[in-house]
């Protein structure tokens, strides 16, 4: 049976977390389908990179090593992946739903006319019957993802076209070494066979790594703190909750004025307006100016020691209690209920 391929992102000599997670997932899918797991690493100075990749149970690693292949630009990486996929005909190809994978994946899928599903939250093998066409398919990749603003969960399949391509965000899958001594085959690619000069049309002038700008507006989950959080120290706990849930931290004006957090996080009439799937209001009384910036949230949890706080009237869940105690427990029980 044809192989499963994972595109590995490599930056500064290190294989990205998301790629390690996908190698782990790829290995378990390969076991189920009884096929090989293969990986691709494209970049520069990749000598020895196999030591980071084989232990995930990779049977073949294809390496394209050339000074011009780092930092990542679309066309050279796409040309290599497209060329290799045409030769190797993988049945499944996985990439990180990162700024690289979400740039590369669609380009590759378009060139190969294969289906791609973005931001999958689950990948499962299963069958499918197309009653209209009278066809039965076995061992398809179910690509499961939220859609429509998170209001539905869709299972997508690619019955006819190969590879079946999917991207997955970092942190969705769990990484796990298969065997530190796992022996795979290293295949060094002749880069000039896949890439031509015209591929290097985009030139990276400068790059600097920095902390992302705060993006509360686009966050699916907002953990917001008010004056009732009590201190800058306690606000760190909100950051921890936001991080485990994959959200952002917001604040009421009172919390910003008290110096608990930065102004960019302010939600409300004079701050940002958010409409997340879930808004967790911690120690926020809920003045009308604040509510104007968040009352269209799909679900609202209010944590407050005042049972009569105005925000409770628009909340779906009201937890009467101390913010620090409740938030700590939410982190603890979220972790114990996932993975």
């Amino acid at each position: 049976m044809n192989s499963i391929f994972v595109y590995c992102e490599v930056d500064e000599g290190k294989v990205a977390e998301v790629s390690q997670e996908l190698l782990t997932k790829g290995r378990s899918l390969a076991d189920e389908l009884k096929c090989n797991l293969e990986a691709i690493a494209i970049g520069s100075n990749l000598d020895g990179i196999e030591a980071q990749i084989f232990p995930y149970g990779v049977d073949v690693l294809h390496v394209a090593d050339d000074a011009r292949l780092y930092p990542y630009t679309t066309n050279p990486h796409a040309s290599i992946v497209i060329g290799l996929f045409k030769e190797e005909k993988p049945q499944i190809a996985l990439m990180g739903a990162s700024s690289i994978g979400r740039d590369l994946g669609p380009r590759v899928s378009s060139a190969l006319h294969s289906g791609l599903t973005a931001d999958c939250t689950s990948l499962v093998i299963g069958g499918h019957e197309d009653k209209k066409a009278g066809k039965v398919y076995e061992n398809l990749l179910y690509q499961i993802r939220p859609a429509f603003g998170g209001n539905i969960i869709a299972t997508i399949i690619n019955p006819e076209c190969r590879p079946q391509m999917a991207t997955v965000r970092e942190g969705v899958m769990k990484k796990e070494i298969r065997d530190p001594k796992y022996k795979g085959t290293l295949n060094k690619l002749d880069v000039s066979k896949y890439v031509s000069d015209v591929d290097f049309v985009v030139e990276v002038v400068s790059r600097h790594l920095e902390k992302s700008k705060i993006n509360i507006k686009g966050a699916p989950i907002v953990v917001a703190g008010g004056y009732g959080v009590g201190s800058k120290e306690n606000f760190k706990l909100l950051h921890e909750l936001a991080e485990v849930l994959g959200g952002e931290v917001g604040a009421s004006r009172a919390a910003v004025d008290a110096g608990y957090t930065e102004h960019d996080r302010q939600i409300g009439q004079t701050g940002v307006t958010v409409r997340p799937k879930l808004y967790i209001a911690c120690g926020i009384s809920g003045q009308v100016q604040h509510r104007a910036g968040m009352d269209e949230s799909a679900q609202i949890i209010s944590i407050n020691n005042d049972p009569d706080a105005p925000i409770n009237s628009i909340a779906d869940y009201v937890i009467i209690g101390d913010v620090v105690e409740v938030v700590s427990k939410m982190i603890k029980f979220y972790k114990s209920n996932t993975k």
């Binding site: 066309n75 791609l116 869709a154 009201v318 009467i320």
Partner: protein, 291 residues
């Protein structure tokens, strides 16, 4: 520097961010009719980048291209009110059921029909699908380089553009000769608001099929003022291979849809006991709100 021909790809989408309690039907499925149709937010960021280049380089034209049902002409008018020069509505039942690949095929063929362009600008992704695929796929089909996650696009005097890209762990500046396709992310500047004079100028702008339901006086008005007619392409106006269109041309199929049932708005009062918080987290995970 000579003016550029810019095509902005835009989509009319249901406002999924604004899912109120009436947006779900009793059976838990999405009530699309209750969701307002809006200009996809990142496509507005893209339009702004195009308009800024138009401000900077005289003679630049901005054309909005959208694929959708006939009501999608609303967003072309919206774009005209904000400073776009004209628009094309790509509409046909043959496009129904398209996945991102079939969509990008139809759009790329429409762009070939429009002909000349220096730059294609689109939002990074649409909020009804969040896939971020159509931009790069259109670029591939047209053989153009692509620059995704753009926050700032500047036309340089040497015929190149310089783009600041906002990546997950930092920013990157790249240059690229024209023509090129750029997708713009939400951290780019918001789109300018409607211009009162442009509203007056374009409020009677109608697509070809919308014009057919109007009076003769109106048709006369459109004849006198050609800018009031929004161009419309059907499948017959563009050169296509039917096997690549709509559901047939879509490699991905939806096997199953599970709706997330939202509960009625009635606050559930809880105490901070271990059991209650544990149950709350389980409930939120089970309903896919978190996790």
């Amino acid at each position: 520097m000579k003016g550029l021909k810019i095509i902005v790809l835009a989509k009319q989408v249901p406002d999924t961010r604004n899912v109120g309690k009436d947006a779900m039907k009793a059976d838990g499925t999405v009530n699309r009719a209750a969701l307002p149709a809006i200009f996809n937010p990142e496509d507005l960021n893209a339009l702004e980048q195009a308009l800024e280049i138009k401000d900077q380089i005289p003679g630049t034209t901005v054309t909005i291209l959208t694929m959708g049902p006939s009501r999608a002409s609303e967003i072309i008018r919206e774009g005209l009110y904000r400073g776009a020069d004209d628009g094309v509505l790509l509409t046909d039942r043959a496009f129904a059921g398209s996945d991102t690949l079939a969509t990008s095929y139809a759009i790329s063929q429409a762009i070939r029909k429009i002909g000349e362009y220096d730059m294609i600008v689109a939002g990074r992704q649409a909020i009804d699908g969040d896939t971020a695929q159509v931009g790069p796929q259109v670029a591939e089909k047209l053989g153009l380089p692509q620059i995704t996650y753009a926050e700032k696009v500047v036309a340089e005097s040497d015929g190149k553009i310089k783009v600041t890209r906002r990546l997950e762990n930092g920013v990157e500046d790249v240059t690229c000769p024209l023509p090129v396709l750029v997708t713009v992310t939400s951290s780019a500047p918001d789109c300018r608001t409607r211009n009162a004079k442009l509203i007056m100028k374009y409020k009677h702008a109608l697509s070809v099929s919308e014009t057919q339901n109007t009076s003769e006086d109106y048709i006369q008005l459109c004849n006198d003022r050609p800018y009031l007619t929004i161009r419309e392409f059907t499948v017959n106006d563009i050169d296509t291979d039917a096997s690549q269109l709509g559901l047939t041309g879509s490699p991905t199929k939806v096997k199953n849809i599970e709706s997330i049932v939202l509960q009625a708005k009635e606050a559930k009062k809880m105490t901070p006991s271990d059991d209650e918080i544990d149950n709350l987290m389980k409930e939120l995970i089970a309903s896919h709100v978190i996790g």
